[in-house]
């Protein structure tokens, strides 16, 4: 509860604080958002405009959508988008399910072999993908997952990171709630589904977004697994542009912007969920 009249020195300090805060944030934001504005600007520049060196301007002199038109025409961007969507949504769904299932016993139950599982999971987080991808590719091939959505989803279907993250979330739930339910004879699975999951919803949402972003931006695995352009995801699509012989940075920029739009939309809609979710009401710190 705030006092109706704060001492003047504190009010002054608060205003000063706010001013500095905004100034610092503007600078920080310029650094994080600036490069993307530059990307956008490049994508709107016509063929005559200089892209580099002393002749260049921050913003296009006569902005044009021609680059976008060209990219859209020469590459099946919509297809790529659909593929990326499907794979990402499936992967996130699996991830949430499997990780939340696995995180629960690790947070709440004691059982033989628990520390082994812990160490095992931790160990898997340190394996760089580049090392694993050959045997993984072999495995996918022998299972007939070449050029398949399932093949793209599988490596992301469950991650140790997700398990640990949700474990942290479960640990934060007061034990008392569970004890009450258990004493009333509620089964573990129902407890998990009806009580625990809703209580960790912000963490689930956060994990969902994290996973979505990771799968969306995944480049190396789809690159190896897919050779049918019909199955390409967006990063592969943009890469195709970059590697095209007719290298035109405006096109690449347009392609990059196009591939960023969906993730930005997802981000805008969900950040309310998880960045704000991280704030959970209490503000001052």
């Amino acid at each position: 509860m705030r006092q109706p009249h704060l001492p003047r020195s504190i009010a002054w300090r608060r205003r000063q604080d706010a001013a500095l805060r905004y100034a610092a944030l503007v600078m920080a934001t310029a650094i994080t958002v600036g490069p993307f504005l530059w990307l956008l600007s490049t994508s709107l520049k016509g063929p005559g405009e200089v892209l580099q060196g002393s002749g260049m301007s921050l913003w296009p002199q006569s902005p044009t959508l021609e680059n976008y038109r060209q990219v859209w025409a020469s590459q099946p961007m919509l297809r790529y988008l659909m593929n990326s969507m499907t794979v990402s949504l499936l992967a996130v769904g699996c991830n949430l399910l499997l990780c939340s299932l696995a995180a629960y016993p690790l947070a709440r139950m004691k059982f033989a072999g628990r520390s082994w599982i812990f160490i095992g999971l931790l160990a898997t987080m340190m394996m760089p993908f580049q090392l694993l991808m050959i045997p993984l590719y072999d495995l996918a091939m022998s299972l007939g997952l070449h050029n398949s959505t399932l093949g793209l989803v599988l490596p992301h279907a469950c991650t140790a990171f997700g398990i640990f993250y949700l474990r942290q979330a479960f640990l934060a739930v007061p034990q008392a709630l569970e004890d009450v339910a258990l004493m009333e004879g509620v089964g573990r699975l129902q407890l998990w589904w009806h009580v625990m999951l809703p209580l960790v919803r912000p963490s689930l949402a956060t994990l969902a977004v994290f996973s979505f972003v990771a799968v969306w931006g995944d480049f190396l695995w789809p690159l190896i697994l897919l050779d049918d352009p019909q199955h390409y995801t967006l990063p592969l699509g943009v890469n195709r542009l970059v590697n095209a012989f007719s290298l035109d940075w405006r096109w690449v920029a347009a392609g990059a912007v196009l591939s960023l739009i969906p993730i930005l939309m997802v981000f805008v809609f969900s950040q309310r969920f998880f960045i704000e979710g991280a704030l959970k009401g209490a503000i001052k710190a």
Partner: protein
């Protein structure tokens, strides 16, 4: 009614699907890779056992050691930066002031964009005639363009900057969550007693963020050891191997030199190193 006999199967049932997937997708390939590290394998002909030869070769390879040094540098520079700056950013945005939600989102933007695209944009920005150099020269700060990615002394730092840039928001959110558990009353009291803002941050907030710092340190440490896309897109390990990180070295051994056995051995060493580092990290932060 608690029945001790139940405590075995239930946890395992919960864990089974997850462990099955991770087992198939991570553990099995990892085991296979360890096997491969004792062979000579070029993907076309079947693997041929060579015992410890790969490891001996790695030990004697100056390129491996320089890649190791580069990854070590990465750790030394990037981890402290990512432990500290996102914390400060989180403190900056942790208010109900108007427009702050926008800033929070804006700071998070590099995290959602694919690393391939980010690296591409930065490569463009770093170019000799790129935006950064043009701006620096126009403002009179430098006379000659800075060779961000083409001078061996600068290249690694330039690549690190991109890694830091794309990770800021990610760790910021972790800290944001941690800030919520700091009671507002604590700071209000401090404020009323005339403790300056800076002192509040330094002596109250940051120490209370210790658990998050531990998490961030471990995570950013592991991420530093796995750096690949930035190097691949921006420098391909150059100039003069100055940006060749361990994972890039691994990738080259496997996919450019076609020496998968050798790459596997490098990978095993990388894994052992990362594991060791994380354990040390946890120990250190856990103690204090």
């Amino acid at each position: 009614m608690k029945s001790p006999g139940w405590s075995l199967p239930i946890p395992l049932l919960f864990l089974l699907p997850a462990c099955a997937v991770i087992g198939a997708v991570v553990l099995y390939p990892a085991l296979r890779v360890v096997m491969l590290s004792f062979t000579d394998y070029n993907m076309i002909n079947p693997p041929q056992s060579v015992g410890w030869a790969n490891y001996q070769r790695l030990w004697a390879d100056p390129l491996f050691w320089s890649a190791l040094a580069n990854s070590a540098l990465y750790l030394i520079v990037v981890v402290p930066v990512l432990v500290l700056i996102p914390a400060l950013l989180a403190i900056l945005v942790n208010r109900a002031l108007p427009g702050l939600a926008f800033f929070r989102a804006a700071l998070y933007l590099p995290v959602v964009t694919s690393l391939v695209i980010s690296a591409l944009v930065w490569k463009w920005l770093y170019a000799e005639q790129g935006l950064l150099n043009t701006a620096l020269r126009a403002s009179g700060l430098v006379d000659d363009p800075i060779r961000f990615l083409t001078e061996p002394e600068n290249a690694l730092l330039s690549v690190m900057a991109v890694t830091v840039w794309s990770g800021l928001g990610y760790y910021m959110v972790i800290y944001l969550a941690g800030l919520q558990s700091i009671p507002a009353a604590l700071l209000e009291v401090a404020e009323l007693e005339g403790v300056s803002r800076r002192q509040q941050i330094q002596y109250i907030v940051l120490p209370l963020l210790r658990p998050q710092m531990a998490v961030v340190a471990v995570m950013s440490g592991m991420a530093s050891m796995k750096v690949f896309e930035e190097v691949y897109v921006m420098t391909q390990g150059g100039p003069l191997e100055s940006t060749k990180t361990l994972v890039f070295y691994l990738y080259e051994s496997a996919f450019v030199d076609f020496e998968l056995g050798y790459a596997a051995a490098a990978g095993v060493l990388l894994f052992i190193l990362t594991l060791g580092l994380s354990l040390i990290n946890l120990r250190l932060l856990g103690k204090s």
